[in-house]
Symmetry: C2
């Protein structure tokens, strides 16, 4: 029985889950929606129903640990704690300001770009010390950034990425992974 994802083609949260499914090479059906908080994506794998993209990806990464990349770096308590840390940073520091690149209000954009700049300064420092956010291996901590960054890179504020050499190199790396390319094209994000 294929995994069912209830989502939308324009949704960055749906894209987040599809990139993870694609990293694991898993079959899925993309369907129309609904769930307790009226949010997408919603997810069904046999008896397991989930919502919230980051929860779904964590479940997929744990269940299919041995297929493809181990996206939670679960063999090391220290490394998995770093994955958790940077997933939390993405959800609580990066997610909101990175979605304002196309806001209609100039003042809102400026305020949010200032916040995003401060967050990206921390990323630049971190990525000067390791190839990926949680260390030398790609993980969900990196993957979770992709959908917003795909959109953000198309805005006039993209230099927030390109002006930071380590952030820029990181983005070139994670955006060229086959799973990223495939889903970005499917979802017309690129």
């Amino acid at each position: 029985m294929a995994i069912k994802v209830h989502g939308a083609l324009f949704s960055t949260c749906t894209a987040r889950v599809l990139i993870c499914l694609c990293e694991k090479g898993l079959d899925y059906e993309l369907l129309a929606i609904d769930m307790p908080f009226g949010e997408i994506p919603a997810f069904k794998d046999g008896e397991v129903s989930l919502f919230e993209s980051r929860v779904i990806n964590r479940y997929l990464a744990r269940k299919h640990k041995d297929i493809g990349t181990d996206l939670l770096l679960s063999n090391s308590l220290t490394q998995s704690a770093l994955v958790e840390t940077w997933m939390e940073v993405e959800a609580h520091k990066f997610d909101s300001p990175s979605s304002y690149g196309k806001a209609p209000d100039k003042q809102v954009i400026e305020t949010e770009m200032e916040k995003l700049g401060k967050v990206l300064d921390v990323y630049e420092e971190r990525l000067s010390k390791s190839k990926y956010l949680a260390g030398e291996n790609y993980s969900l901590a990196d993957l979770h950034h992709i959908p917003h960054l795909v959109y953000f890179k198309k805005t006039s504020k993209a230099n927030a990425i390109t002006s930071r050499p380590h952030v820029s190199a990181w983005w070139n790396d994670i955006s060229s992974r086959p799973a990223t390319v495939k889903i970005s094209e499917t979802m017309s994000l690129l």
Copy 2:
């Protein structure tokens, strides 16, 4: 070497970590602060440095899985996915409106109470079907709610809890756990 927690006695995030440490019966030192995003609590366990209370608790629950309650219900993929789901609900739906019970602005309070009411309606439905949020066992999904609820219960809006029988029974249960009582008293939350 004892676990070091850099935090503050008034901080609900610090309380969240201390309750988890206390559930596990672990020794710790509570110290003054700082970290990359200037946030508390920060945490050091030997070589592992972490920040963000929910990340710290996840690390503690994983590392000390076999001491006391298994707070991630990690023996079942389905149950652990439910823990993840309700931890996400707490962080993204409950956390913000539940902290407005003492806001100075009446309009802000009313808007946030309306949001909180809708969230608690989902909790009431959920808790009519299982004793705890992730099923029949206590987990981090429940624990993470405690510090805000301790404060919230002291406000004039506490009937948002007491008027919902299943939410109220759940709160009476989790607030009377020895770890909750001990830390609430230590931190003068009660």
